[in-house]
Point group: C2
Chain length 437, copies 2
């Protein structure tokens, strides 16, 4: 016969439990406080924190276990004005499920995690237990859930494409070489080529997967490995259809956060942004004019993005602003030229950046879909189409007009929670200096 | 003003459209047939195939476009006894959305894809368009959806852990080295260490992500990169709790397939397995006895697994059979020793393999959770605990009893569809010889 599993009560459900009932909690000792006549044990589980009142004769052998020890506590549900949720557990029987824990590298029970970033990252397995830190990843996971929900409902097919690739052709620089059975392979910088090819199969695809950038700069925004939320869809008219899908996806991600990470939003005191029914769009050429930049400037500088963000906030009442029509030569070779009625004949492209509070959040656009256009675009950049043969094969055999976008998960979360460094919201970040833990 | 988007009808929805109504279809030319007085165009979109009847005066310039060309067809819904679904489209206006497609490397319109595997894999972007081939991935995507649904509902948190790691310590062999900013990194063979550490944070975690094995053998079962569905949960009594979760997850994956890939199941004529309310379990020592293997044999040979599968099918009426208690020395160092009442004191472990129709499908079990046990287990294998410092830190600071499992997506799908080679169900497989397309 198996030992029966005790019906476990989560800390968050304690407030709804019947007073006087016996319950069993399981979790980490979040905090212990021993006073002269009574001791308090705060027990933390995945749902929250519960207060347990311990009389001297209820102490386990060796006294109250130290913080982070894992325990099972069976006791009585007792109304209490002091305890969070109005309920505490009394008359506990405390059983240790782990050995007594060593003192953590930071005090996890303090409301705010005050250690420096290197300490926080070096001891990630433990520091992620801090409720405010954990909240950031709860928001990430809920965002993924919302992302998939919207796309599943819209007839998209999830794909999983290879991260080991034979050529470093997409952007050339910043790739990681891999010793692949004695020859050189590379880590994929994005699933771009594969998601496009798969539009020819499934019409609408998405992928959530790591991408790799051998980013030689040590900044607060860049990681060597991050999670990319990639979307690509067929039968678009132009990049505006892609932008509208992106809008719906962002609404879904925020719905996911509201529904599945409400506790995390509360814990961090966040004000989630509102996605407007239509995202305001400004053409790149107009954007340059508005910020007073020279008309031949090929890209927007960060201070220009910030100025546009302020303008969108103050004049248009929107946290989000799309800039469309970036100069074609500054975009990847697969970018579709501009087809808008205004700005006709200029050096523009059917692409956009989405700015969130004045910082680039997402890049997207329409892609070329005709084989001859790919051959011309590659030749114009001095690239040999033969090096792209497997990719181009899809286009030789009929591809619909299509486009897509990619959202960096860590960047998205860091914007939502207001992190000053993307590493704060990455489970185990990788960068120029960091390959551990 | 933007060109309005035509209200698009999917092929699968044509049967429900009002006879006489005008509809617009978009998709690839699946098949064209020109007879003396009339032509037929089969249009394939993500939902299925629709028949379009084309009179000579309705032909586009240059005649009916060749197979795989992407078209928009507007025409009249007309009942038809010959057409699939009882409806065809007549009086069409055909507009080409791509250039006329080059002849595909295989004939996609033939009911069965008859090309050899190298051709199929070399031209993956095109061959995946074949409806029967595509069905395999539809089943994969639906399995993922079912997998996440079950776990999300059970309070699991999705995690995304790094694929670039600093040490090749988990199993030592078969790792891919990466040039990581001038030093050597490795591609993760599994998220094992990370998912365990994160049980200390979220209690219940899962991850769907690529894993990498520099597998030097060229077999029908092994890939250099595959998608691993990893699960880990805290507060288990032993591996039997893990097995029960696995059972529920498999039920959810099959529900996902039935709900979201019904068309694919039909197209392939599959009989999906039934997961019993309790998966039968046999101890490793009993399994050896039953198949007539020597009692000191350290593992089950493939023919033994097949014999056990036949026995489970015939005697127990189950496609699934769990073998528990594998010898501890054949399992990874983090495996928990046997705690069962039977077979006490033997060299066994709290681990299992799940056999599906006589082939190993999933490996799982309970892990060690006490820091001193890790130190002993590593020393017993001649490993220095210091090399595992970041991983072991989680255990020093309190970890619940926990366990988990990993399902290989491609292996799962190949069993369901009866593929003879796992490459058939992998979008772009990677192996000893293949790093393209």
């Amino acid at each position: 016969m198996r030992r029966p599993v005790p019906a476990r009560t989560l800390a968050a459900d304690l407030a709804g439990a019947e007073p006087g009932a016996d319950v069993t909690l399981m979790g980490h000792v979040h905090r212990r406080r021993e006073l002269a006549t009574v001791a308090f044990l705060l027990l933390r589980d995945r749902s929250g924190v519960a207060q347990v009142v311990v009389r001297p004769d209820e102490l386990p052998d060796g006294g109250l276990p130290p913080e982070e020890t894992v325990v099972e506590v069976t006791g009585r549900v007792t109304p209490s004005v002091q305890a969070g949720g109005g309920v505490e557990v009394t008359s506990p029987r405390i059983r240790l499920l782990s050995e007594r824990a060593a003192t953590p590298p930071i005090e996890l029970w303090r409301p705010v995690l005050s250690a420096g970033l290197p300490t926080v990252l070096d001891h990630a397995a433990v520091t992620w237990r801090h409720p405010r830190r954990r909240a950031a990843w709860e928001i990430a996971a809920a965002s993924l859930r919302g992302f998939r929900r919207v796309l599943d409902d819209a007839g998209f097919t999830e794909v999983q494409t290879p991260k080991l690739v034979g050529t470093a052709t997409e952007s050339g620089a910043n790739v990681f070489p891999v010793d692949y059975f004695g020859r050189t392979g590379y880590l994929a910088q994005s699933p771009q080529f594969y998601k496009q090819q798969l539009v020819g199969v499934f019409e609408r695809v998405y992928e959530v997967a790591p991408v790799f950038r051998a980013e030689p700069h040590d900044t607060v925004r860049h990681l060597a490995e991050y999670v990319s939320l990639d979307v690509e869809l067929g039968f678009v008219r132009d990049h505006r259809d892609v932008l509208e899908l992106l809008r719906v996806v962002l609404v879904g991600m925020l719905d996911g956060v509201r529904t599945h990470a409400a506790g995390a939003v509360d814990r961090l005191g966040l004000q989630l942004p509102v996605v407007p029914a239509e995202i305001p769009v400004i053409h790149f050429a107009e954007a340059l004019r508005r910020v007073g930049a020279p008309p031949d400037q090929p890209d927007l500088a960060p201070e220009h993005e910030r100025a546009l963000g302020t303008w969108a906030r103050e004049e248009l009442g929107s946290d989000l602003l799309a800039v469309e029509g970036y100069p074609l030569r500054k975009r990847p070779f697969y970018t579709h030229p501009w087809t808008g009625a205004r700005f006709e004949g200029g050096p523009w492209s059917n692409s956009f950046d989405l700015l969130f509070r004045g910082v680039e959040l997402v890049t997207g656009g329409q892609r070329l879909h005709r084989h001859p256009d790919y051959v011309s675009a590659l030749r114009a950049r001095g690239e040999a189409p033969a090096a792209f043969a497997a990719y181009l094969e899809a286009f030789a055999h009929g591809m619909p007009p299509h486009g897509g976008f990619a959202i960096g998960l860590e960047r998205w979360v860091s914007r939502l929670v207001g992190a000053s460094n993307v590493r704060e919201v990455t489970l185990f970040p990788r960068d120029l200096h960091r390959l551990e833990p």
